[in-house]
Every structure is written in structure tokens, then in C-alpha cells.
């Protein structure tokens, strides 16, 4: 691993985004608009918004970073820049961590704005601390990035990469406990939910939003999320082949 290359890669990815004002605006504004919409829908049931609002603060970064990363990495593969980089003195991990770092920065910005809007403008009421809320959102974003890097290996076109969102993310969304609490699900569904990474991001968010300090359950969820992130990055590294057919 080489810190100089990792940092240069993160800087390069952020510079690419900086040139794309519309994407930046969409990344930062859309979550706020959706949260505002949600709070409006549950205008007369503030307790429901207080339960679902924080969960969305974990779901948005994961979903958004998954799509953005999988498309960005696919471009890297199809444009020949990946081949060029792999012929240069670059470690695969430098590239993956560079991406993770860049999208992590973006996720903190995105979650920071969305949390600020939720807490101060939309009167979201949580018992937990904003700091842990942001940590959870960051972990969810890193998980989305790691899964997106991995998914890009299985897409040949950008059309396919975008379709991975409904294919891999929507089932997780249905089973993560947002619609039906995970412990109230049928045993088969609960078992599937237990192996899906988004479930742990949502569980962790429910824990940190509902409790003033860091609970043991939240700590366990963080550990599971970290394991998923490391596992997805390792698998992603394995899909980056220096020699291709």
C-alpha cells in the first residue's frame, strides 16, 4: 500500500465529481428533499417520522454510493484507465481505498446536511447523539462504496450497472426492517434479512438514534458492517485482474 497513491486517487475522484456540478447537487439535495417529503407525509404522526427518518439517513448513503461507485468503477474498466493504472506502480488496494476515501468524504457531507435538515428544519426527534448518527451514515456509505466496487466487476455496460440497484439494493431495502420490523418477519425472510448488509446499517441506525450513548447492540452492528466492508473490498480487489483475456 502507498499512502501517496491512495490520497492522489481520492483527490482525483473528488476532482472528477467537482467538475460535475449536477451530480454534486443531486447527491446533496435529493436526500433532504426526500426527508422533507417523508416528514410531510407523516405530518400528523411525528412518532412515525421519528422512527423512519433516521433509518433513511443510513439507507440514502448506502444506495447512492453504491450506484455512483459502481458506475464510476465501470467507467474506469471500460475507458482503459484501469488497464493503464494496473500497468503502473499502483497497488489494487491503493485504488480501492482511494475510492472509499473519496466517497467517504462525500458521504459525511451528504449525511451532515441531511441530518442537519432533519434535526433542525424537520423537527426530527432522536434520543441519540448526532455524532454516532454520522458515524453510522459513514459506515453505510463505505459499505455502499465497497459493494459498488464489487458489483462493477459483474457489469459490462452502464445500463447493467444501474440495474444492479433494483437487483441488489431493493431486496435489501424490503428486508432491512424499514417496512416490517426484522423480528416480526417470517423465519425464512428473517434468515435472509440476517445475511444482508443493509439490515445491519439500519439496525445500527435505529440503535444510535434511540439511545443516548453507544449500546452494545450498536457496537455489534458496527463490527458486522466493518466486516462486510472489508469483505467486499477484498472481493473487489480480487476482481481487479492485472492480466485479462
Amino acid at each position: 500500500m502507498n499512502t501517496r497513491i491512495t490520497l492522489a486517487t481520492a483527490g482525483r475522484v473528488l476532482t472528477q465529481l467537482r467538475h460535475d456540478h449536477r451530480t454534486i447537487a443531486l447527491l446533496l439535495v435529493v436526500p433532504c428533499v426526500l426527508l422533507a417529503l417523508l416528514s410531510w407525509i407523516f405530518d400528523d404522526q411525528p412518532a412515525v417520522f421519528d422512527r423512519i427518518g433516521p433509518l433513511l439517513l443510513a439507507i440514502f448513503p448506502l444506495v447512492v454510493m453504491f450506484i455512483v461507485t459502481s458506475v464510476a468503477m465501470l467507467r474506469e474498466r471500460t475507458s482503459g484507465t484501469l488497464e493503464r493504472l494496473l500497468a503502473m506502480p499502483l497497488n489494487k488496494l491503493d485504488l480501492l481505498l482511494g475510492y472509499a476515501l473519496a466517497f467517504g468524504v462525500l458521504a459525511v457531507l451528504q449525511s451532515g446536511i441531511a441530518s442537519a435538515v432533519s434535526l433542525w428544519l424537520l423537527d426530527l426527534d432522536i434520543a441519540g447523539s448526532t455524532g454516532w448518527l454520522l458515524v453510522t451514515a459513514l459506515l453505510a456509505a463505505l459499505l455502499g462504496t465497497a459493494l459498488g466496487l464489487l458489483a462493477s466487476a459483474f457489469a459490462q455496460t452502464e445500463f447493467q450497472a444501474v440495474q444492479f440497484m433494483p437487483a441488489f439494493v431493493l431486496p435489501q431495502l424490503l428486508l432491512c426492517g424499514l417496512f416490517v420490523p426484522r423480528d416480526a418477519m417470517q423465519s425464512v425472510l428473517a434468515a435472509i434479512s440476517d445475511v444482508l448488509p443493509l439490515s445491519y446499517a439500519v439496525d445500527a441506525m435505529a440503535e444510535v438514534a434511540g439511545n443516548p450513548g453507544l449500546t452494545g447492540a450498536a457496537g455489534r452492528d458496527f463490527a458486522v458492517l466493518a466486516a462486510f466492508i472489508v469483505g467486499a473490498l477484498a472481493l473487489g480487489a480480487a476482481t481487479l485482474r492485472r492480466r485479462t483475456a
Binding site: T15, Q16, G80, T81, R84, A87, R243, T244
Partner: protein, 240 residues
């Protein structure tokens, strides 16, 4: 001259087809070796094998005494892919700054390579807004960073205007005089005369490997296009 690149019995399949058939050839250190052949003859595959990004079936490729693609070679071999492999959504300077950081080149290198490919007036422009030829030059500039000992260029002059092509060939010879070894592929025969040595490739096999003058002498022709045809005819007669 010792060989900077030594290829021995290289066989490559792509998508079920035999693309390189037991190719053996050498590229002399400090030469500007042209890899010529029609489209589909295996030029890009040979180049990818030299850089070490091609999966090969059998044979060996040795560059500067090391197996192609091995770690110590990655900062000593510059590679330009056929399609310009740079980031369209970054400016010329931003692209080169990034690649300079990856190869560990000094900060001043970025300006040097930009002026070497004649893009000084486009440094701040987004690559997406450049013409095809300008993008090719950004891609070439990235390969020049850090002054690699071996430069492997896949059709670097396609679509460039004649003046620029001449300038680039002059630059290639300047680099070779300074000790760099260049392997340059092209499907345009009139570029063959600009090389100090030629590898003529056809249907995955080496048809001839010699200097342009020697190839002309051997085939009794004046231009390399006719020489190439004479070699193909001779081979077909020989195999009958």
C-alpha cells in the same frame, strides 16, 4: 545492441481464437521499433503482452531482463493504449498530475510532458472538450511521465495531422537517442520508414524482423508497402 524486449514462443488466445502463434522476436535497446501489420494481425495483443496485462497461453516475454508485467518494471515501462486512456471529466493538467503521483514523478514533470506533446495552450481544458488527436496526445503525455526506459505505444499517431505526426516521430527519435527503447505499433506503412527496426506481423505470426533498408533490399522493392506484399507472397509460395 542488447535486447530490451525479448519475446520467445509467445502464444495468445482471445475469445477462442489464436491471436499470436508462437511469436519470437526481439526489440533492441535504444531502437525505435515499428510493429506493423494490418488491423487484426495481433499488434495490440503483442503490445499488451509486453506490458504484462495480457493473459498468455505459453511462451515468455522478458523486458529489461525481468518478466513482463513484474513489479519492478511498472515504473520503468510507459504504456499508451490504443484508445486514449485518460479521464474525460478531468482537465489535461489534472489527469497528468494524478498519473504523475501514481508513478512518483516530480512535480515539474507535468509541465515538461505537456509541452513535449504540444498541449501547453490546453492545460486547463477538460479532456472531454478536446479533439480525438488532442486526447491521444494527453494519453501519450501520461506515458512520458517519469521518463520510462521502455515506451510501448499502441498506434499513437492515428488521426493526427501530418505536422504533428512528424513532430512526434522526431520526439520518439530524441527519446531513443537519450537511451529509451520504443516499440510503436502502426497499421500505416508510410510510418515504417521512420523506424530504425521493423517487426512485420500478419495473422499472429512475425513475417519479418529487420531494418527497413534490409527488408527493402531482401524483397527488391522500393517501398515498404510492396515489400510487405512481396513477403506475404513469398510466404504463401513457401507454404504451398
Amino acid at each position: 545492441m542488447p535486447a530490451a524486449i525479448d519475446i520467445d514462443g509467445l502464444t495468445v488466445h482471445r475469445g477462442g481464437n489464436l491471436v499470436l502463434d508462437a511469436v519470437s522476436c526481439q526489440v533492441a535497446a535504444g531502437s525505435v521499433t515499428g510493429l506493423l501489420g494490418p488491423s487484426g494481425s495481433g499488434k495490440s495483443t503483442l503490445i499488451r503482452s509486453v506490458v504484462g496485462v495480457q493473459r498468455i497461453i505459453s511462451g515468455t516475454v522478458t523486458v529489461l531482463g525481468q518478466p513482463a508485467g513484474s513489479k519492478p518494471l511498472r515504473s520503468r515501462v510507459g504504456y499508451v493504449t490504443q484508445a486514449p486512456s485518460v479521464y474525460a471529466d478531468l482537465s489535461v493538467r489534472e489527469n497528468l498530475r494524478y498519473f504523475a503521483a501514481v508513478v512518483g514523478a516530480a512535480a515539474g514533470e507535468v509541465d515538461r510532458v505537456i509541452s513535449a506533446v504540444g498541449l501547453t495552450d490546453k492545460t486547463g481544458a477538460l479532456v472531454a472538450r478536446l479533439s480525438g488527436g488532442q486526447r491521444t496526445r494527453v494519453s501519450l503525455a501520461a506515458a512520458l511521465l517519469g521518463t520510462p526506459q521502455v515506451l510501448v505505444l499502441d498506434e499513437p499517431t492515428v488521426g493526427l495531422d501530418p505536422v504533428l505526426r512528424r513532430d512526434l516521430w522526431e520526439m520518439f527519435h530524441g527519446l531513443a537517442n537519450a537511451g529509451t527503447t520504443l516499440l510503436v505499433s502502426s497499421h500505416v506503412m508510410d510510418e515504417a520508414d521512420r523506424c530504425t527496426a521493423l517487426l512485420l506481423l500478419r495473422e499472429g505470426r512475425v513475417l519479418a524482423a529487420d531494418s527497413p533498408a534490409a527488408i527493402r533490399r531482401r524483397t527488391g522493392t522500393d517501398d515498404l508497402e510492396s515489400a510487405f506484399l512481396a513477403l506475404i507472397d513469398a510466404e504463401q509460395v513457401g507454404s504451398r
